[in-house]
């Protein structure tokens, strides 16, 4: 059975052209890391930083610290802010556990007061509640650019303007958007942006990073070897070295650089294609009797290619099992590591089935997925007679 891959919000597949070759080439060659051996080969991280700075439209590639992905970046940013003295964080119920858990750990340890702002039934952030939370002393605002459940793109510019006006530090979780939707931190007022390489950028798993604007001097959370400045007793203060302790994932970053080069040349066509396929999916699902779509109030795809739904009579995890094993549609079900949002959009306690497309999917993939969902929504068990 041919498998149709609709789980790109978890991890992209296929990877961008050139990624596999770049990773393989890096693994086949002798390891060469800046400052760590006698060779003086180019560091793929420098390519990544330059290309990411272009994508983020910032003139400071050195302010982009690379690491294992958005979770590491978000932990670095949140724990770093706590070290800076932030004592009240404001976030939203739309967030992923990679935001909620580090904040809650700090709260549990008594190091931080946490306010989680509620959502409207369509999954949008309640702006009045957000403003009240900031007025209550919020010093750090953490917001995702797009929900990994509904695919809804939040108006981060408005949220961060409110935060900046009140003197709060702003952190954007761009896990679902960098590469898919314009992310311009200077325009949006995002002082920090956490991102991953393996989703819309279509690079390898285990790559990502954190952009930190020059007006935030984020302290290191992880310290250790940097390959250079080894005589210093403490972590060097320069960016990005300050936030990049340990041996880098050079094969991964070689792959990420290849992905970023591909994105630079193809971003317009890739994103138009993802948006078109995503809209086809949203509208198709909404037209199926017995299917409830959690689309964040957007009948057309906002650019993320992500949509959640539920099928009457089927638990989400069971529906995903059947879609995969009986129809060859690979997707994801459950809470999607974002447990709070389901209480607000009406998908608690079991969550949703989620489809997420990339520009490599086809119209035939979408029709096959819709046809499978139609079959599940219409199915009635045959019972004893048919089994006999």
């Amino acid at each position: 059975m041919r498998i149709i891959y609709l789980n790109n919000a978890a991890g992209s597949w296929p990877k961008a052209p050139g990624v596999v070759e770049a990773v393989s080439g890096a693994l086949e060659g002798m390891p060469a890391e800046a400052g760590r051996d006698s060779a003086s080969l180019p560091d793929p991280r420098e390519d990544c930083r330059r290309l990411l700075a272009g994508l983020l439209d910032v003139p400071w590639p050195e302010r982009i610290a690379l690491g294992s992905g958005a979770t590491q970046a978000l932990n670095q940013a949140i724990l770093g802010c706590a070290r800076l003295g932030v004592r009240h964080a404001v976030t939203t119920a739309a967030e992923h556990n990679s935001v909620l858990r580090p904040l809650r750990h700090l709260e549990q340890e008594g190091k931080l007061r946490l306010t989680i702002v509620g959502l409207k039934p369509d999954g949008s952030i309640d702006l009045d509640q957000f403003a009240r939370a900031l007025d209550g002393g919020g010093e750090l605002a953490v917001v995702n650019h797009a929900s990994n459940v509904t695919g809804k793109v939040n108006d981060a510019g408005t949220l961060f303007r409110m935060a900046r006006e009140r003197g709060a530090i702003t952190l954007l979780d761009a896990s679902q958007t960098l590469g898919a939707v314009p992310v311009r931190p200077q325009e949006m007022g995002a002082q920090m942006v956490a991102f991953t390489g393996h989703k819309a950028l279509r690079g390898p798993e285990g790559t990502g990073g954190l952009y930190v604007s020059p007006d935030v001097e984020l302290p290191a959370v992880l310290t250790g070897g940097t390959g250079v400045r080894s005589d210093l007793p403490l972590q060097p203060g320069e960016m990005p070295m300050r936030l990049e302790a340990g041996t880098p994932n050079s094969p991964g970053f070689a792959g990420l650089a290849a992905a970023l080069r591909w994105v630079r040349e193809n971003i317009a066509s890739e994103n138009a294609r993802r948006r078109g396929l995503g809209s086809l999916l949203r509208r198709g699902l909404a037209a199926i009797p017995g299917v409830r779509v959690f689309d964040g109030g957007c009948p057309d795809d906002p650019g993320t290619g992500v949509v959640s739904f539920a099928i009457a009579g089927w638990d989400p995890d069971e529906a995903a099992l059947v879609l995969d094993q009986c129809f060859g549609i690979r997707c994801r079900a459950g809470l999607h590591c974002a447990p709070e949002i389901h209480r607000w959009i009406g998908s608690a306690p079991k969550g949703t089935v989620r489809f997420s497309v990339s520009g490599s999917n086809t119209e035939q993939d979408i029709e096959a997925a819709l046809s499978a969902v139609r079959a599940l929504a219409a199915a009635r068990p045959a019972g004893r007679e048919a089994a006999a």
């Binding site: 995890d317 094993q325 009986c326 306690p349 019972g383 089994a387």
Partner: protein, 92 residues
């Protein structure tokens, strides 16, 4: 159907108990029909690969696909040991 192994499957929910049971042979239609001894069988023959769901002892569910040599077992919150024993007796 003879049970040859099982693994715990992690999912999103604390306290849920999902296993994958492995059998020595693939599920055939007769094997699926035999599940009726354990509870209410629901069978979906019109999918590209037929699917079955058994609502079994204590509300446990068995979910599987004809032609596969494994199935998913979702245990109820209460009386799990008894349910496991009942299921595994069936698959001796």
């Amino acid at each position: 159907m003879k049970l040859v192994g099982k693994v715990k499957v992690e999912d999103c929910f604390d306290g849920s108990s999902v296993y994958r049971y492995f059998f020595e042979a693939a599920w055939g239609r007769e094997d699926i029909r035999g599940l009726q001894a354990l509870g209410r069988l629901e069978y979906y023959p019109d999918f590209p690969r037929p699917f079955f769901r058994l609502i079994g002892p204590g509300g446990a569910q068995l979910r599987g696909v004809e032609g596969e040599d494994s199935c998913q077992v979702v245990l109820p919150r209460q009386g799990r040991e008894e349910v496991i024993a009942r299921l595994e007796r069936h698959f001796l």
